[in-house]
Amino acid sequence: MMAVSEITTPKAAALHLLCSLSLLVVHWVACNLYSWSLITHTSETLGLCLIVHGPIVIGVYSLVRRDRQHCSYWMAVARGLLGLPVGALVMAFGAIVLGAPVGIRYLKRTAYWSLLMSIFTFVPPACVFGSSRVDWHRIFAHFKPEESLDALVSLPAYGSVIGAWIGAWPMPLDWERPWQAEFSCVGISCTVLEARDHMHHCGVAALSFRVISIREIRCGFYHLRPLIFLVQVVSCLHHIRMPCTFVPMKKVNRG
């Protein structure tokens, strides 16, 4: 597995650092400049994320495209842009299957969320591999990254999906308990941690994929701490409040 390494460790580290930094910047800007949070200004924050993070991901991953001889930089960017809506559709479908609300009220948020998820998952492989069926299959079906480039693309994607799933799971909890509110605080510190972890991964690609994946899941999870909130907020803003409002409404109608 160590044999073919198309991308050097510093390069991979820089790539991840850049991506993570952009997320951090978004977070900082949203928090401090606009004092937005995902709960109060869901679509605005998501839009900001999209605007800052999207171009960086497309740009950076296009740089590490695989078939450099046949494919120019702009070609890779175009591939990434093409992959964006397709991926968003798939993500939106998945979100709706898992319980995201549908309706005009939620349309904007769901769209933003799916686009962002698409940037996390679909756009990198689209930039790097294009429409090569074999590569996509290797990355997404087998869960076995063979080269460091594969890991670079697939592990964050898996991390995002699993993180999003885990984020969706505790939605029915009643959010009155204080420990649940601490989700957001953990998010910031972990984004920093995650940048360090990524360097390890790319350097020590020889580790068995299970170990990496577990660590990567954790990373992805942390990476997605903000995203966990996205899922909660975007897909089920009214669900979160459900346990609190639900009983009362029943009471009112009886009375």
């Binding site: 479908f93 319980g99 909890l173 459900m242 029943k250 009375g255």
Partner: protein, 989 residues
């Protein structure tokens, strides 16, 4: 697909083994199911006996005229002296305004401070340490120490469950409400039992209520005037209180009420949000102190002779206590101990001290004396009723509290001619006489209730205790008769004076009545309020044991499976882990009440997750199956229906969408639309019929009875559409047709279903070859399973109502998708064998999740008002507990338990058909056993977690509102599943 690579010699040895084992192993395979069923029943029986306390509500009411039946009527001088006091002279209520007892107070002001801890009211020197929240209600303490004869603080003991609703019920009925009060109000909160408020309204007392809107829910029609405020928002400390304050003081100056109830909620809410030791709590208490001060001021100002509150009793009380965290619901001392403050505005004479201070004075303050009595909340209803002079609530088992009775001035007046016969005029003696005669009525009323209860209730009281109670009763009433006879004889001229021992005679009488009443209360508490932790623990242990047995039998069957096909089994470990993970998180989620509320959505979330995982697994092979995508789309449909079901639940009506369309007034232009909506289910039904026909006719092996079953089903569907058309009133039908459609069509459907079932059972027991002429066991199994399903489906369909066909379509499509799973077959191809569900439990899990989803999809949810009562009356007009019970059970468990469990064979069949290989015959049944076992295990595991959760949360606020109904539903579901698995195994093997 490569065929099975079996070595020839192995195959030979197998077939001989198999023929030997076939007949014997049928019972060997069925036996574990029965063992598990027995274990589960035992566990559930034990746990339920310990956890769910039941009490039957009686629908009898007390009336003024009932008193003539009691042995307590003292003949008044207006009556013939010779008339027996046991006799049937007319009630005296009209003559002198006296009903059961002589009214002692004219007006009553009850101020309820929700979750009032005992130490909020009692002075801090009663406790070891002074805490910040103590001594805040100073006005009450001051009154209790300054006006010791007319006001008093009590430690009031509530009975668990200490939730507001149950407590209000307990306070007003004078009983001990349990979780399951079997009665007419099953599900609805309004109290139908006899209660204090009913008696007040019935006897011309005007009741004014303000505060917590729970009162209005409990007593929708009883108040003259009410100012309810919503109590749901726990974070809102002030709305209710401000509303009460706004109305309380002005109302005190009005004379158009007799009983005023003001219910403050602030302390309860402050406790829930901030805890007891917090600034908002102290602020609330200080606020109450000011209000109470004003109230007392107003009352005292108006207490002069002839004024508004000349003879008013003020009661300030809590309905229950709370822990330091603000929780309540359970039975710990903090939750149970609340306080009651009573102040009478008509001072009793000085000897009151002998009654009050004799037994109950606790502590001395430096200088001043302050006394605290004890008061059982159980006694509240009867004490208030006796003071107001109204009949005691029928189901009350309390005793008139002597101290509270003594506080009011009028109970000291000699009012009874009979008292003169005793020749005693001391105020104490006349008080005692009054009290004894009230106690006599009280005792008689309690005895009447206990007698009727033990005759009519579902679960009676222990016979031995009843006998003991009877002995006490006859002793008490016997000595009362003696006294009365004595008194009468003295009137008849013998002129015996018994002054020397009147007090002691009466005291003895009071004691003997008290013994009886205390005995009854003890018996009732034992039967109705205490969890039996021992039984619960045993039940839980048996349940855990049954899980072990379950796992063991799965292992055994797995070993049996291995004997057919030796293979190394590590390839599917990821799938098994996934399944275990999904089951585990679903089960663990029941520890949280919000997950129980959202169970339907969580199940569909997990179902969707499993669908996505399927997609991922199948993309491994490079091709995405249509079924996987269809399954996801189906999941979306299920999800939306569940959500709309939840919104229906919130609205509180269980009518279907079509119904709500029809019921609202829509313009005429919509009538076509409505007609179309009415036709929609029939359209879906016809699709269903075609589908069923195709499925059945595809089975070419099935010769005999095939047409009988097909025709039966089609007939049922036609009858169903007739029924719906007639019900919807879109066609003007004749009276006979209407009658036929409404009553006979459903009944014919039920009987066809029953006929099918009986026929199947008979033909299987008498001659299996008759109905299943084929030798191939896979096809034979398919035939039996199909006929089994067709026997049940039409009944379940019609009970589901108009949504039925849609549900059936979703169910069939979902089942089809699950059975067609590509990667299920993939495992077979990889290992070259039909591995059975043990290596691939995913379809079984999906099957079970789909069943859970269908339960919610069909508009059920896990509370008693989630039962679809309307379904029980399809085809029947009148209520019959057996008929309607069966129909309701079939409706509740039909689509979520009966159909899924009985159609499990299709999982195995399809797998055997997909793999297109020749398997040894026994393997089919081993796989079927595995599928049944795993399905049962999934259900049993989640139920076990529910039981554990209920055990842990038995003191939780929502235990009676949420956890207990969930427990009941889960446990019944588990039993139904077990029974169905047993029945299925008997039919299918």
């Amino acid at each position: 697909m490569s065929g099975p690579r079996l070595r020839p010699d192995h195959r030979d040895s197998l077939s001989s083994f198999q023929y030997k084992g076939m007949v014997a192993s049928k019972w060997a395979m069925i036996r574990p199911f029965f063992l598990i069923l027995t274990l589960h029943s035992l566990a559930i029986y034990l746990f339920t006996r310990g956890f769910l306390l039941t009490r039957t509500e009686l629908s009898s009411f007390s009336h003024c005229s009932d008193k003539s039946q009691s042995p307590c009527s003292i003949p008044s001088p207006t009556n013939n002296a010779n008339a027996s006091f046991l006799g049937d002279h007319p009630p005296k209520s009209e003559s002198n305004g006296q009903c059961w007892t002589r009214p002692a107070v004219d007006r009553l002001v009850i101020i309820i401070l929700d979750a009032l801890r005992f130490d909020f009211v009692a002075p801090s020197f009663f406790f070891e340490e002074k805490k910040p929240w103590m001594d805040k209600l100073e006005v009450l303490q001051k009154l209790a120490s300054n006006d010791r004869t007319s006001s008093r603080i009590f430690k009031a003991i509530a009975d668990p469950p200490t939730t507001s609703l149950q407590r209000l019920k307990g306070l007003t009925t004078g009983g001990l409400p349990t979780f399951i009060d079997v009665g007419n109000s099953f599900g609805a909160p309004a109290i139908v039992e006899d209660n204090l408020i009913f008696q007040l309204a019935n006897n011309g007392k005007r009741v004014l209520m303000m505060g917590d809107d729970t009162w209005v829910k409990l007593f929708p029609h009883h108040f003259n005037e009410s100012y309810p405020y919503p109590s749901f928002n726990v974070k809102d400390l002030d709305t209710v209180d401000n509303g009460v304050i706004e109305h309380l003081l002005p109302s005190l100056l009005r004379d158009d009420w007799d009983v005023l109830i003001a219910h403050f909620l602030g302390v309860d809410h402050a406790g829930h949000i901030y805890g007891v030791d917090s600034t908002p709590m102290i602020a609330k208490l200080e606020q109450y102190n000011n209000i109470l001060e004003e109230v007392v001021q107003v009352l005292k100002n108006q207490s002069g002779s002839g004024a508004l509150h000349e003879n008013t009793l003020l009661v300030v009380m809590g309905d229950h206590g709370q822990t330091l965290n603000g929780d309540h619901g359970g039975g710990t001392a903090e939750e149970v101990e609340t306080s009651l403050f009573a102040m009478s505005l008509k001072n009793p004479p000085a000897p009151v001290a002998t009654v009050l201070d004799k037994n109950y004075c606790h502590l001395d303050l430096d200088g001043k004396k302050i006394c605290i009595g004890t008061f059982q909340q159980l006694d509240f209803a009867v004490t208030m009723a006796s003071l107001l002079g109204i009949p005691f609530p029928f189901g009350s088992i309390g005793r008139i509290n002597p101290e509270l009775y003594a506080l009011t001035g009028r109970t000291w007046e000699t009012h009874n001619q009979c008292a003169e016969k005793f020749g005693s005029h001391s105020t104490l003696e006349s008080w005692m006489l009054n009290y004894v005669s009230s106690l006599c009525v009280n005792t008689w009323q309690v005895k009447r209730y206990i007698d009727l209860y033990s005759m009519t209730s579902v679960i009676g009281l222990p016979a031995e205790d009843l006998r003991y109670i009877n002995v006490l009763y006859s002793q008490a009433q016997g000595s009362w008769l003696d006294i009365m006879k004595f008194a009468l004889s003295s009137e008849n001229g013998t002129n015996i004076r018994i002054t020397d021992n009147t007090a002691s005679v009466l005291q003895r009488q009071i004691d003997s009545y008290s013994r009886f009443l205390e005995g009854v209360a003890e018996l009732a508490r034992f039967a109705w309020t205490e969890f039996n932790l021992m039984l619960m623990g045993f039940g839980l242990c048996v349940m855990l044991t049954s899980l072990c047995v379950h796992l063991y039998s799965i292992r055994t069957v797995h070993g049996l499976c291995k004997s057919y096909y030796p293979f190394s089994g590590s390839s599917a470990s990821l799938r098994i882990l996934t399944v275990i993970f999904l089951v585990a998180i679903r089960a663990v989620s029941f520890l949280s009440n919000s997950y129980i509320l959202a169970e339907g959505r969580v199940a569909s979330f997990l179902l969707g997750t499993s669908g996505i995982l399927n997609l991922w697994f199948s993309s491994d092979t490079g091709e995405v199956a249509v079924e996987d995508l269809l399954f996801l789309v189906l999941n979306i449909i299920i999800r939306f229906s569940i959500e709309s079901g939840i919104s229906k639940e919130t609205i509180g009506s269980s009518s279907s969408i079509v119904h709500s369309f029809g019921s609202t007034d829509i313009e005429k232009g919509w009538s076509l639309m409505i007609g179309l909506l009415e036709l929609l289910p029939i359209l879906a039904l016809s699709i269903l019929v075609v589908l069923i026909y195709i499925i059945i006719s595809r089975n070419s092996f099935w010769k005999r009875l095939k047409h009988f079953y097909t025709m039966g089903n089609i007939l049922c569907c036609m009858l169903m559409s007739v029924h719906w058309i007639v019900e919807s009133n879109i066609i003007a039908a004749s009276e006979e047709l209407k009658n036929f459609g409404k009553t006979f069509a459903p009944r014919i459907i039920y009987s066809i279903g029953l006929l099918h079932f009986v026929l199947l059972a008979l033909s299987l027991t008498i001659n299996k070859k008759y109905i299943v002429p084929v030798s191939n066991p896979t096809d034979a199994l398919a035939i039996v399973a199909t006929s089994m399903l067709s026997a049940w489906s039409s009944t379940i369909l019609i009970l589901l109502g108009r949504q039925g066909p849609n549900v059936a379509l979703v169910c069939i499509l979902g089942a089809w998708c699950i059975t067609r799973l590509k990667w299920a077959a993939q495992v077979d191809a990889e290992s070259g064998t039909a591995t059975g569900p043990i290596f691939n439990p995913m379809p079984v899990l999906q099957w079970s999740l789909l069943a859970v989803c269908l339960f919610f999809y069909t508009g059920h949810w896990c509370t008693f008002d989630g039962l679809r009562y309307a379904a029980a009356f399809i085809g029947f007009e009148h209520f019959n507990i057996v008929q309607q019970g069966i129909l309701l059970a079939i409706d509740t468990f039909g689509v979520s338990h009966i159909i899924p469990v009985l159609s499990i064979p299709f999982l195995v069949i399809s797998k055997h058909q997909i793999s297109k290989k020749k398997h040894p015959d026994g393997l089919l049944f081993i796989n079927l056993t595995q599928a049944f076992l795993i399905y049962g295990l999934i259900t049993a595991f989640t139920t076990t977690l529910t039981i554990i959760c209920v055990t842990i949360q038995r003191r939780h606020l929502m235990v009676w509102g949420l956890f207990a109904p969930k427990y009941v539903f889960d446990v019944l579901g588990l039993l139904v599943t077990d029974v169905l698995i047993c029945v299925g195994s008997l039919f299918y093997y």
